[in-house]
């Protein structure tokens, strides 16, 4: 067997990809051939260290935005058939809230420039952008903060919240849920979205033009 073939066999053994017969045969050789054993031991040790290195990220906290993303961007549920159901409800709860006037410019600035998926602090806590999409008449962005989930749309040079809902984090859960159970925000998106939420590339182009 060539050296390359030995390396492949050892590699397959480490990955448990040999048949029982192949593994038995290789293990017999490892007992008889010191050089082969040395190579096996070295590669096995490398594998342990590599796994340890990669697993270091487990020591880092999981960003909240993942949790909110899983709950809010159930984008598979952006189904046209659900839009009619949501329409009346959303119209009833939709509010208009101009950030530039009541929340200060920092939040508007985040909506203006921050890519989807990123999080940043603003004066009322932390905000994550969930998605960017086109509605009937404006560009809109779904967002989540510590206390609410909402959709804001760009009107002129200002951002206005068109729907929002309080969120709560259930004890022991890692996912933010709409406080009222049903997600009014998601229903709003289903009702008003034209096409699909923007991809990262599409969003980057749009953000660059504002």
């Amino acid at each position: 067997m060539t050296e390359d073939e030995d390396v492949i066999q050892i590699s397959r053994l480490l990955d448990d990809e040999l048949t029982t017969a192949e593994a038995t045969q290789l293990k017999k050789r490892l007992l008889k051939e010191p050089d082969l054993r040395e190579l096996y031991d070295a590669m096995a040790q490398d594998q342990v260290v590599l796994a340890e290195l990669i697993a270091k990220i487990d020591e880092e906290p999981v960003p909240d935005r993942f949790s909110t993303n899983l709950e809010t961007t159930d984008l598979g549920a952006y189904r046209p058939w659900a839009a009619s159901v949501a329409a009346v409800l959303v119209t009833a709860v939709a509010t208009l809230y101009v950030f530039n006037q009541q929340s200060g410019p920092s939040l508007a600035n985040l909506l203006e420039h921050m890519p989807t998926g990123e999080s940043a602090s603003f004066q009322e806590g932390k905000l994550s952008i969930v998605a960017t999409f086109r509605s009937e008449s404006a560009w809109c962005r779904e967002y989540v903060t510590n206390i609410e989930r909402g959709v804001a749309c760009r009107e002129g040079d200002s951002w206005a919240t068109v729907v929002k809902q309080a969120v709560k984090k259930a004890p022991g859960e890692n996912i933010f849920n709409a406080a009222g159970g049903q997600s009014l925000v998601q229903d709003y998106v289903m009702e008003h979205i034209k096409g699909q939420p923007l991809s990262a590339t599409e969003e980057s182009e749009v953000l660059g033009k504002w």
């Binding site: 590599l50 697993a55 990220i57 993303n69 159930d74 598979g76």
Partner: protein, 176 residues
């Protein structure tokens, strides 16, 4: 064309993503060498999957494919980083890998991990990615082959080549 019945969506997809989050973080960390970049890739991958659904068959492999393509074809390219993302960190002692290792009590252990980070970083994508996948939660060659869209035999040879290359580089680093 895929029908909705062929795809995981809604609650089932949420559960898949939640259960694979740790694996996706490890994989993207091995791709990028950076905690922040890893999280960015996972975030966008999750959004894409939630937006379009995930094939029921081979759903786990699909997640890896999305992450890999996102990093190599879009994010890394957009940031105009070098072909080998890790290359720029090799001579820089403040890479994320190094930061993570800085709390290790044992200097020898820290050096071992730093050497691994440097050697692993120098592998080409073709070698580094399948090797990382094999090191993460015991992914099988077949699963890796599906994710990378290459034959199982190619996976086998690339991982073996990656291992021997890695070992030679580690020996050199150990001698320095």
């Amino acid at each position: 064309m895929d029908s909705n019945e062929d795809k995981l969506t809604g609650k089932a997809l949420n559960e898949l993503l939640a259960s694979e989050l740790s694996t996706m973080r490890k994989f993207t960390y091995s791709l990028t060498g950076s905690v922040d970049d890893s999280h960015d890739v996972v975030q966008i991958a999750m959004e894409r999957c939630l937006r379009s659904g995930v094939p029921r068959e081979g759903s786990r492999s699909w997640l890896f494919t999305v992450c890999k393509n996102l990093w190599i074809d879009e994010i890394r390219r957009r940031r105009r980083k070098p072909q080998n993302e890790f290359q720029e960190d090799i001579d820089t002692p403040v890479s994320d890998f190094a930061e993570l290792n800085s709390t290790e009590a044992s200097v020898a252990r820290r050096d071992e991990l730093n050497n691994m980070a440097a050697a692993f970083s120098q592998l080409t994508d073709d070698h580094r990615i399948p090797l990382a996948m094999s090191a993460i939660d015991g992914m099988g060659y077949k699963e890796i082959a599906i994710a990378l869209e290459i034959p199982v035999g190619t996976v086998m040879s690339r991982i073996a080549r990656a291992r021997i290359t890695l070992n030679k580089r580690l020996r050199r680093l150990g001698d320095d």
